[in-house]
């Protein structure tokens, strides 16, 4: 792949994307073939299998329903550190033996954590499925958490935490989350801080793993050249001894939204002001999720044709990228508008964002806008589950949020049912232009912020 510049926004992953991925579904023209099988195992593990025999490859993902939300605040980064250390050594294999074994067959093995869950995955050629699953099971069930590996990984994470400061967008988003969520787990970065990482001990890691990485807290999804029957056999073979156990419940509750307006200005020697504005949004299970998906598509989720893009990029040339999204998580996540513009146009760009939000609250959307949003949301589903990788993420997300295996059939109905009145209602209910948190990372002398 050559180095390239993209017209729109270079495709990128954003935390919370899994949720957005759910916002899409099979159009009518696709015959109703179920996406996969769902089986609950005796030990409580949910097994989801999508038989996709077109290529001799298999992808497996295990989602553990525990993330940084369950870690103690003073040990922020524990969930992430636990996950990333899994492939760094087991009772019977060193870190190097693991990477050497998976890489020798051209496969990939990885683990990471987010706010509400942790994920392990492996992709291999079909002929190497035994090796892939043996390694996956070993790192899941028997991680060693060796002291030297812990120290090495913490060192790496500290370097990464420092490097994040290079990116003004990351600085702005982290400041926004901290201001919006305060002490709530959603307010801190998943990888923790230099300080909190120093407080994590081997015992913390062992305990966190023992408590949460249990089958009745997990979902396993597989896609590729494998049948349900065949894969059950593999699970019996490699995941024996993975026993059910009680899972401690940690519920931090919903974050309390700070009252009134708040403005954070961060001075950096940058050519562009990085602007983040937003407030508390919704949880994934909120029934208004679908109406909000439509509303946000029109406001700032729909790429070049969204209102924010038209007003700020197409009509004024102020920004390359401006977007909005509801990060609908297990607990209510943020609603965010983000953009970057040269320091000098920061003020009018922020004004325009707020003006567009007021406008959609006041006058709603046109029938044409509604039809375009519904057409895209219902029609683009097959594009997003193009690959095995996409399929396993989709399956685990459906299960995680309890949407049911028939969700691909139901989603278009939810979207088609949305009316202009619904869009207006949810815009008024969930957009708050007179409150919210504004973060600007900019050369403040040039930006002369009026906020």
């Amino acid at each position: 792949m050559k180095n390239e510049e993209w017209r729109l926004i270079r495709p990128r992953m954003r935390t919370g994307l899994v949720l957005l991925l759910l916002g899409i579904v099979l159009p009518r023209l696709v015959e109703a073939v179920p996406l996969g099988h769902r089986v609950e195992r005796d030990n409580g593990l949910i097994l989801l299998v999508a038989e996709r025999p077109t290529l001799p490859m298999v992808t497996v993902e295990i989602l553990v329903r525990t993330g940084s939300t369950e870690e103690p605040r003073e040990k922020a980064g524990l969930a992430n550190l636990t996950a990333v250390l899994l492939p760094e050594g087991t009772v019977s294999r060193t870190a190097l033996e693991i990477s050497e074994a998976i890489e020798f067959v051209g496969g990939g093995l990885g683990a990471d954590a987010s706010r509400n869950h942790s994920t392990l995955s492996v992709t291999v050629l079909k002929k190497d499925l035994d090796i892939g699953l043996e390694l996956l099971a070993d790192v899941l069930l028997h991680p060693a958490f060796r002291e030297d590996e812990i120290a090495r990984k913490i060192g790496e994470l500290k370097g990464y935490i420092r490097q994040k400061q290079e990116n003004p967008g990351t600085v702005a988003r982290e400041a926004f989350a901290a201001a919006l969520f305060g002490d709530h787990p959603y307010g801190r970065p998943v990888e923790g801080t230099e300080k909190s990482l120093n407080r994590i001990t081997r015992k913390d890691l062992v305990n966190f793993h023992r408590r949460y990485y249990v089958p009745n807290n997990s979902i396993m999804a597989v896609a590729g050249e494998v049948t349900l029957k065949e894969f059950r056999g593999y699970v019996d073979k490699y995941f024996t001894g993975w026993a059910r156990a009680a899972v401690p419940t940690v519920n931090p509750g919903n974050a309390a939204a700070p009252a009134g307006r708040q403005v954070l200005k961060i001075n950096r020697g940058v050519t562009q002001a990085n602007i983040v504005w937003g407030h508390l949004g919704i949880a994934r299970r909120n029934p208004d999720y679908y109406a909000l998906s439509v509303m946000n598509f029109i406001l700032g989720g729909g790429g070049l044709t969204s209102r924010l893009m038209r007003a700020i990029r197409e009509e004024r040339g102020w920004a390359y990228d401006v977007h909005s999204f509801f990060s609908a998580r297990l607990l209510p996540g943020p609603f965010v508008v983000g953009l970057q513009t040269k320091n000098e146009t920061a003020n009018p760009a922020i004004d325009e964002v707020l003006r567009q939000i007021r406008r959609i609250r006041e006058t709603g959307v046109t029938p044409e806008e509604l039809e375009e949003a519904k057409g895209f949301l219902t029609g683009s589903f097959p594009l997003r589950i193009d690959t095995n990788r996409d399929v396993v993420s989709f399956l685990t997300a459906i299960e995680y949020y309890g949407l049911g295996m028939d969700y691909p059939d139901r989603y278009p109905e939810f979207i088609r049912a949305v009316t202009r009145a619904d869009v207006l209602r949810v815009a008024r209910k969930y957009l708050h232009p007179d409150q919210g948190i504004l973060v600007v990372v900019a050369d403040l002398e040039k930006a002369k912020l009026a906020f």
Partner: protein, 444 residues
């Protein structure tokens, strides 16, 4: 956003194969219309979806002095409408029909694509053939879009130290060839790109005889081909676009650039060597060498520099094999906190010296080949990447050259790796770039 741009650069283009591990021939249907438009069709029926690509054989390598960024700005302007399809309408129509569209510009090509439900394939045919000839290039629209691209440059380069370092290295490594210019263009050039420049560029390069259409997905070729002929066949052939004559002269001595940036948190190092492209048989060994060096955590650079010595926060390699003209083979690393640039640089070059003095093990060679073959299969999982690979190979060397890839990789020996390391990875052929975190002049 990108954590560092290098992580993304680390992906290889791996070409593609057909079913099964042994049968590697990829058979697309190929035809050329009377007006010179090349058409490549590959049926793939796993889902009722189709991806339509039209790529023009023009990129930043075709730009003249003072006009850098023109190819990329042209790409942006292609979405500004025609007399029958208003600005924004293109994307609006595709979205309404549940499709996705986008475009990109590289050094060698400019690609446009639409991915959507198979029964809507008439839409991209109609829209793409229209804007191949009827584009409206409004002066005010050009000014606005130029501002957008300048914002894009601020976002990608001005405020991103590692991107800025790459730009310095390319500029230092190429003194005669346009690969030395950034695809997005120099800011000073962008300010001066005008409507007339775009109109001339459009006339020279946006013609059927300078384009290739690639369709991959759920369609019946016998039905699709007449539709393609109907949509594009009446567009008259254009003049032959001017060829690129620049040849980079051999480098006769190491070049060094140092970039001091207050916003950089950690130093980083890039070492870039001039190397041949896929048309040279050495390219297979270079491709394998890239994977030996940087194909994962057990690969040489990560294992030694990151894991064992803990000098680097990350380390990798990047080789642009599928390229119209000879490009670079690059090594890069971010210096770990508390370590010095000097010791890092020394260790990095020691890795290269080792490749020249010692043969790698047979297992290391086999591992790299296995990784390349597996990636081949994995890459076929996406119809988008299939289309992209066909199109990029077609533009650079003819799409059939993709079928030479795996046999070429399989034939590489340990001796070949040592030989190409000795031939290309030498100090005289090297441009070293160092990113140094510096004080912010505003912090007094």
């Amino acid at each position: 956003m990108r954590r560092t741009s290098w992580v993304i650069l680390g992906f290889l283009i791996l070409g593609l194969g057909a079913r099964g591990v042994e049968a590697w021939e990829l058979e697309a249907f190929e035809t050329t219309l009377d007006n010179g438009l090349k058409v490549l069709l590959l049926e793939e029926h796993k889902a009722p979806v189709v991806t339509f690509h039209i790529w023009y054989r023009v990129g930043s390598r075709n730009e003249q002095v003072g006009h850098t960024g023109l190819a990329h700005l042209m790409e942006h302007m292609m979405f500004k409408g025609t007399p029958t399809i208003g600005g924004q309408e293109f994307s609006r129509i595709i979205k309404r029909n549940g499709g996705r569209d986008n475009a990109f510009t590289s050094q060698d090509y400019t690609g446009y694509f639409v991915t959507l439900a198979a029964d809507r394939i008439h839409l991209p045919l109609q829209l793409e053939s229209d804007r191949m000839v009827n584009l409206r290039l409004d002066t005010d629209e050009v000014k606005r879009e130029r501002s957008v691209v300048m914002e894009e440059r601020r976002l990608r380069t001005e405020d991103d130290p590692s991107s800025a370092l790459w730009e310095e290295i390319q500029a230092a490594a190429f003194k005669a060839h346009p690969y030395g210019n950034p695809i997005i263009g120099w800011m000073e050039d962008l300010r001066q790109l005008h409507q007339a420049d775009l109109a001339a560029f459009y006339k020279s390069y946006y013609s059927p005889n300078n384009a290739v259409v690639v369709v991959v997905g759920d369609f019946d070729r016998a039905k699709l081909l007449p539709k393609i002929k109907k949509a594009f066949g009446s567009i008259p052939r254009g003049l032959n676009p001017p060829s690129v004559r620049s040849v980079e002269p051999p480098q006769n001595g190491q070049r060094r650039v140092v970039l001091t940036r207050p916003d950089a948190q950690l130093p980083s190092i890039v070492a870039a060597y001039h190397v041949p492209t896929l048309t040279d048989s050495d390219s297979y060994a270079l491709e394998v060498l890239e994977v030996v060096l940087a194909g994962g955590k057990s690969a040489q650079l990560h294992r030694h520099l990151v894991y064992e010595m803990q000098l680097a926060l990350n380390a990798g390699a990047y080789y642009s094999r599928v390229s119209a003209d000879p490009d670079l083979f690059s090594l890069y690393c971010t210096v770990a906190p508390g370590k010095s640039v000097g010791e890092m640089e020394e260790a990095l070059f020691a890795e290269i010296e080792q490749l020249k003095s010692k043969l790698i093990s047979s297992r290391e060679l086999q591992k790299a080949k296995n990784q390349i073959e597996a990636s081949f299969i994995f890459s076929q999982d996406s119809i988008f990447s299939l289309a992209r690979q066909l199109a990029s190979y077609e533009i650079v060397a003819g799409w059939r050259s993709v079928n030479a890839y795996l046999p070429g990789i399989r034939a590489v020996t340990r001796e070949d790796l040592r030989r190409v390391a000795r031939k290309y990875l030498v100090a005289e052929n090297r441009t070293v770039g160092i990113l140094v975190p510096g004080r912010d002049p505003s912090e007094k």
